[in-house]
């Protein structure tokens, strides 16, 4: 729902990159099916159930990096290599395993975007 909230700010060719499983924390949260239907009716949407994928790949804390990977091809400011370097730098203090997990998550997201764009 929060991705839809800012719809009037989106440029005609702008892309929505979002997680598809909602984080329901208010009682009147809209129906998930209605949200997905509204999202899918829009021209440029890249969505993925990042929480499920993160769990499946045993990267439970890196769902946000999957999303960053999904957004990477559209950012324009920084390319994927620069983002990878930044991820390595930010997580360096937490050890190699954490860096590797976050890079893996990032690549999963990037891969998903590239596939959905070429479709």
């Amino acid at each position: 729902m929060e991705a839809l909230r800012y719809l009037p700010y989106l440029a005609p060719e702008g892309v929505i990159v979002t997680a598809s499983h909602p984080f329901v924390n208010i009682p009147n949260y809209p129906e998930e099916s209605a949200l997905l239907a509204e999202l899918d009716a829009l021209p440029h949407v890249v969505r993925l159930d990042i929480d499920a994928l993160a769990r499946e790949q045993q990267l439970p804390k890196s769902a946000n990096m999957i999303l960053l990977g999904m957004a990477a091809p559209f950012l324009g400011l920084l390319d994927a290599e620069q983002l990878r370097a930044a991820i390595s730098r930010v997580f360096a203090a937490k050890g190699e395993a954490v860096v590797a997990a976050n890079l893996q998550a990032f690549d999963l997201g990037l891969d998903h975007s590239q596939k959905s764009v070429s479709k």
């Binding site: 839809l4 909230r5 440029a11 702008g14 208010i26 809209p30 949200l35 509204e38």
Partner: protein, 535 residues
């Protein structure tokens, strides 16, 4: 300039001030200005240089302390949100009469559209009222650079300089090319008592000299490189634009090529450039965020009948912040969102956090108030203002900081009973104490609740000036010991709290109840920091 940093508008101001040789920042938190002082508090350069940066009790104490530092010859910065200008107006206006010694920059962050404020007053009016130069940067880079220029002009003219930001500039980030830090001023207290002692004889002389300086400050604005004529000013055009501060970006986004634009970032409004623009254009559109400050003056400068467009004439909306879309439409360009509002949206009104002590305070108050149909609850400004919304719907008024106690007192004087005030700890020291003294001196029948979460929560958890001193302050102001209570707002204490509120309502004098429990957010932050340290 070589190094680039990604900075909020607020941070650009902070770094600009540090690099300009700042010796002290004096501020009371307020959105969207808070991050300026926070940046300085965390800055290694500020620590190394001993830059004074603790939070002040309110905007007036901040302004006066900064004036004192300026008197001593050093550069000082005062920061606040726009309504803070009301609180420090006495000091601000008179600082223009005494003048300054070390550079004094007063930064007011305006909040058009009232994202987190109770009005959208435009601080530029205060600058004009006090007759001082006003700087209004258009972007983060200018914000950084213009602070140093403001300090220099302040010292050259011996006047405070007002710098105005708006929310969008204060709270958005851009890459800023930054320079080197210059030295701080040496201690050199002023000796000219005739300037600083504003007895009528001196004040008349000082005021005359302030009026005489007006030509000089207007010339400074007319020559400023921040005020620039762009586009074709040669042949006659149907429309010219005056774009003030941040509005310049919106104009640039949709201006057709060759459109004559006067970019305005330093005031007083240079009359000559306005006349020049009018001579080349059949009409002028004034684009400015906030109130029609420039538009009104342009109407005064030009002949009656010359078509001036803007917020007053309806080309731009009279209220609310500007958007690139509304500016595009005013320029006759296509503008408007590509996508309409989504259908499946649920609003998210702000709420008190789960576990917040203010919740228990309102639960108790609502319980007791239900027994008194005539009860009125006078609220104040802070997180606890959210008690106005469901599920509590507990408060009847919220006007300005401190008004809970004084309005309850006035209503009690008029015969309202029970008259209950709810005020936060930081708001109490900001401007509740003096009102409480009035109530004590009058023996007014009010029940004051100081809901103490040990912090200034609404603006992000800054230190609160009176923490651990509230009982002592109330006693010293004359509240009677037996009518002063400290309680812990937790569901398990509900019976005790409601009993005390009931008893104190029945007491026809001033009573104070202090529910005291730390804010969930600052508590969580401290626990996380502790954990990180241990790891």
């Amino acid at each position: 300039m070589s190094e680039k940093r990604l900075l909020l508008g607020d941070e650009a101001v902070a770094l600009g001030a540090l690099h300009a040789g700042l010796s002290g920042v004096y501020a009371y938190p307020g959105t969207p200005s808070t991050e300026i002082t926070e940046y300085i508090q965390k800055s290694p350069l500020a620590r190394e240089r001993g830059v004074r940066s603790r939070w002040c009790t309110n905007e007036k104490t901040a302004m006066e302390a900064a004036l004192g530092m300026s008197y001593a010859g050093k550069r000082a910065l005062v920061c606040m949100k726009h309504v803070g200008m009301n609180v420090c107006a006495d000091a601000f206006v008179n600082a223009a009469v005494t003048g300054v010694k070390g550079g004094l920059v007063v930064l007011a962050a305006d909040d058009p559209s009232m994202h987190s404020s109770q009005n959208e007053q435009d601080s530029r009016f205060y600058g004009k009222f006090a007759m001082v130069p006003i700087f209004e940067p258009s972007d983060q880079q200018e914000a950084y650079e213009m602070v140093a220029e403001a300090f220099a002009l302040s010292e050259a003219l011996r006047l405070p300089v007002l710098m105005r930001l708006v929310t969008r500039l204060a709270h958005s980030r851009a890459a800023v090319a930054v320079g080197e830090a210059q030295a701080q001023n040496a201690l050199s207290p002023d000796d000219e008592r005739t300037r600083w002692v504003l007895l009528p004889g001196n004040a008349r002389r000082q005021y005359a000299s302030l009026v005489a300086k007006q030509a000089e400050i207007e010339a400074a604005a007319a020559q400023s490189r921040r005020n620039a004529c762009e586009g074709g000013w040669n042949d006659k055009k149907p429309l010219g634009v005056i774009a003030a501060g941040i509005a310049y970006n919106y104009v640039r986004e949709s201006a057709p090529a060759g459109l004559p634009v006067f970019k305005l970032s330093q005031y007083p409004l240079p009359a000559h450039q306005v006349q020049e623009l009018a001579a080349h254009c059949a009409s002028i559109l004034v684009v400015e965020d906030g109130q029609p400050f420039v538009e009104e003056q342009v109407r005064g400068i030009l002949d009656a009948g010359y078509p001036v467009q803007g917020r007053l004439s309806g080309e731009l909306p009279r209220t609310g912040e500007l958007t690139p879309d509304c500016v595009a439409r005013a320029l006759g360009q296509p503008g408007g969102p590509a996508f309409a509002d989504a259908h499946n949206l649920a609003p998210r009104p702000p709420q008190l956090c789960q576990g917040c002590g203010h919740r228990d305070v309102y639960t108790a108050l609502n319980k007791v108030a239900a027994e008194y149909p005539d009860a009125r609850i006078f609220g104040d400004i802070g997180c606890y203002t959210l008690g106005a919304l469901p599920p509590f719907r507990a408060i009847d008024t919220c006007v300005d900081m401190g008004a809970s106690i004084t309005m309850a007192k006035g209503a009690a004087d008029a015969g309202v009973h029970p008259a209950i005030a709810v005020i936060g700890d930081s708001t109490f020291t900001h401007s509740g104490m003096t009102g409480l003294l009035d109530a004590v001196n009058d023996g007014s029948a009010i029940t004051v609740i100081i809901s103490d979460n040990l912090t200034t929560a609404m603006t992000g958890g800054q230190d609160s000036a009176g923490t651990h001193k509230y009982e002592a302050i109330c006693l010293a102001l004359g509240v009677e010991r037996e009518h002063l209570h400290v309680v812990v707002p937790l569901p398990k204490n509900m019976e005790e709290i409601t009993r005390i509120i009931r008893e104190e309502i029945e007491y026809r004098g001033v009573s104070v109840i202090i529910p005291q429990r730390e804010c969930m957010q600052t508590l969580g932050r401290k626990l996380r920091q502790k954990k990180a340290k241990e790891a």
